[in-house]
């Protein structure tokens, strides 16, 4: 199963409205993505908690429909 890039972006923005997101479809298959996400919400959070915010935004899709999304998070 695959998810379009715009859908991933939308889900993240829904939960993290100030996020600036750069996302790449690595293989052009709607299934292997790399995203860099910058948000003030990440400030003062551990890396684990930063990534958990993103996973929560994706509402359980990570590890299921969405197999391969590598994430880089940064505060601002």
């Amino acid at each position: 199963m695959a998810i379009p890039l715009d859908e991933i972006k939308r889900l993240i923005i829904d939960s993290i409205p100030d996020a600036s997101i750069e996302i790449k479809d690595l293989m052009g298959d709607n299934n292997h993505y790399a995203a860099t996400i910058i948000s003030a919400k990440f400030n003062n959070l551990s890396k684990i908690d930063q990534h958990k915010l993103v996973y929560r935004a994706l509402k359980g899709k990570m590890g299921n429909e969405l197999h391969a999304l590598s994430i880089t998070t940064k505060g601002k």
Binding site: H51, G60, G63, I71, T72
Partner: protein, 105 residues
């Protein structure tokens, strides 16, 4: 034994524990291979646990850490992160420092 207890025993009994798809010698997923290679590069002895052999463990570890993906690295019972975090910590030197501080390498 319930799965939570099995996981606790694994991370308590092994200083460095990697829940992965496949084995360190034969990883079945690129992300698991990447973390396994980082650990090998740092010359860390680690216990690789193949979640593909046990569906209960595969689901259990995700619940245990509230983390939806495999691989997952634990050092001295502490969850360190998945592939992205481990790679980032390897590249900026943090991971090596943790192993040195904990006298593992």
């Amino acid at each position: 034994m319930e799965i939570k207890k099995i996981i606790e025993n694994l991370i308590n009994d092994n200083e460095v524990c990697l829940f992965m798809k496949g084995t360190p010698d034969s990883p079945q997923c690129g992300f698991s291979m990447a973390v396994s290679n980082v650990l090998k590069h740092l010359k860390v002895n680690f216990k690789g646990i193949n979640v593909l052999e046990d569906e209960k463990l595969r689901q259990g570890i995700k619940k245990f850490s509230d983390w939806p993906t495999i691989p997952q690295l634990y050092i001295k019972s502490e969850f360190i992160g998945g592939c992205d975090i481990v790679k980032e910590m390897f590249e900026n030197g943090e991971l090596k420092k943790i192993f040195e501080d904990k006298k593992i390498i």
